[in-house]
Symmetry: C2
Subunit: 367 residues, 2 copies
């Protein structure tokens, strides 16, 4: 039996999906199976108030057809007409090529994904692997694949921000702010808590206080250093440049810098280490242990971030808790708001941090 005109087939004729090919069941197939028009199927399956307008009989027919054929609407085709992909992009800076050693990023991602999911949005992650340099990546982000971006990056150049504004792609900066009043962002105050942390250390009698900071060109690096300086200044302690380094937030930096600092002559060596972040502090703690010294008896130490390991260290690390999850959540909320309202809100959220005093800071030892 040769049927050259399959379109003519009456409903009830089982539409065999061409297996082995990438041909999916479409609206048309369902319509043919149910013996109604495409639009009828679209409106009924789309739900909402307009599906009420159809007779119960037709609705049933359509629903049966859809489930008989295992019909799933194509998100891509829907995205094309609706101009919404229901996907949020999270962009990690090139520095975070690896998630694994960054609980900080994981927390953010986690919070953002939870909120996205709650709003029916998918999450696409762009790691440093994907986008080599900012300029060439604008097309990548503006191709309609995502409805908006959460940019997690300590340093974003302003040109890039301008490109996104021009492209009218909603976005939120995390851990960064921009001059432009349209730009929404989520960040924390890095300076004040660092100041308090250092004051806490000073309170214990320390005056030779080393600082193992992040890169000065990153906002957090600069601000944390500013907090350190301010605390010292308030107590009239001069800054000793030999005790200050800005080599980035790495475990290894903590190890090597601590070795260097603790091998200084007795009268110059620091009695307290202010680490730019917890990871650095963990490295520093390792180095201290290797040297056979104890925390806080021989040397005091602080971190920043409060990653899970900070509590596991013995003694626990005195540090500043960043609301990582909450930052991710907030970023997602600010972004979804902009997408919804189709306008730049320029909202800037600054979330509170919390000093976490554990046992890694103690009085200066009278050697």
């Amino acid at each position: 039996m040769n049927s050259d005109n399959p379109e003519h087939d009456k409903p009830g004729n089982s539409v065999k999906p061409t297996l082995g090919r990438k041909r999916n069941v479409t609206l048309k197939d369902v319509a043919a199976y149910a013996g109604v028009s495409k639009m009828t199927v679209s409106m009924i399956l789309g739900g909402g108030p307009q599906s009420e307008r159809f007779s119960p009989d037709t609705r049933l027919k359509v629903q049966n057809a859809a489930s008989a054929l295992k019909y799933h609407p194509s998100a891509v085709a829907q995205a094309l007409t609706r101009r919404r992909m229901n996907t949020i992009g999270v962009v990690l800076s090139q520095q975070f090529t690896s998630l694994i050693d960054d609980p900080y990023i994981c927390g953010l991602l986690d919070g953002a994904m939870a909120v996205n999911a709650a709003h029916g949005q998918n999450t696409t992650v762009f790691t440093g692997h994907v986008w080599r340099d900012a300029t060439s990546s604008v097309p990548l982000f503006c191709d309609g694949r995502t409805d908006g971006l959460i940019m997690i990056s300590p340093a974003i150049d302003s040109d890039f921000v301008q490109s996104l504004l021009e492209a009218e792609l909603p976005f939120v900066l995390v851990h960064n702010e921009d001059r432009d009043p349209r730009v929404a962002s989520v960040s924390i105050d890095n300076k004040t808590p660092m100041k308090e942390l250092v004051q806490h250390v000073i309170h214990y009698g320390h005056t030779k206080i080393a600082f193992l900071g992040g890169f000065p060109q990153s906002r957090s690096g600069a601000d944390r250093y500013a907090g350190y300086c301010e605390a010292l200044a308030l107590s009239g302690i001069p800054i000793d440049s030999r005790l200050v380094s800005s080599l980035g937030y790495h475990y290894d930096v903590g190890v090597s810098e601590t070795q260097r600092l603790l091998s200084m002559p007795r009268d110059a060596a620091p009695t307290a280490l202010i680490c730019g972040c917890d990871k650095t502090a963990l490295g520093a703690a390792k180095a201290v242990m290797n040297l056979g010294l104890r925390i806080p008896e021989d040397i005091s130490m602080t971190g920043f971030d409060d990653i899970p390991d900070a509590a596991l260290l013995a003694p626990g690390l005195t540090t500043v808790r960043l609301p990582m999850r909450q930052m991710g959540e907030t970023a997602a909320i600010l972004l979804l708001e902009q997408i919804e309202r189709q306008e730049w809100t320029g909202r800037r959220e600054r979330l509170p941090t919390e000093l976490v005093l554990r046992g890694s800071v103690g009085p200066v030892q009278a050697r």
Copy 2:
């Protein structure tokens, strides 16, 4: 001046993108600006051999038009015709609602994303937040949003696998295998390394060896337990059910179970703890420390996974290193292969693990 017929406008007329709306620059705009047809633009900008067929003059005109208008092709529209979204989905089981305390997952994700990126594929992550139950989620995954899935889940029900097979959506199971010969997977041998680990402990003279395992219904839980049993059997040590628990891979389980075990009467209490994973071991170590006992002098301990913290513990945790990153990479490769060839390969990769002997296992103390 009222122009009712903008289509008629001659090239050179600057096409002003309607700002404030979500109207993007399209092929048509570029074509109009350059004074050629849509197809000409599509073929020239698409590159490849066919763009050679056009005169240098036309090519230049088109390229200038594209950059003048800042044209970016719509990934969604391309996906519709090409039937390829160039996006890989990574599905995390409901158990991993949070990334943060799971370096294991982060490693996998990381490896997979790196390979995807290298092949020009984006990565979308579906967390437990997104898909509540397997059955209802099939549509979510089959909507054309992704070209294939990497399923990271210790336990996947077979119905779900069948649904994916039916839907002809390429996928790879990680940490799991399926009966169906079409299903590709990446996993490790859990039993053998666990057996070796326990034998290592037995070698040090231990006979009262506790096991803090994962859930028996998960493959890794069952296999690791089997390895434990086999090692004991080979040495003729009977299994003491009081020393065995299967409460899942959690820090807290490590803490509470260790407290329970070490408060048993002297003659029954274990002298070694085999932890189902490193996280459990970290919890166990904490409990041991709280009890004022030392590792390995008072009690020996092993982990499984080799997460970063395992090395930071003092003494370092003897454990089994899983090639997490590599598993992610391999999964991505197997998936891309299937997508490319448009067929089920059914390849099953079993990656080698490595015993990492650090200091957490020692001889039985003669108390």
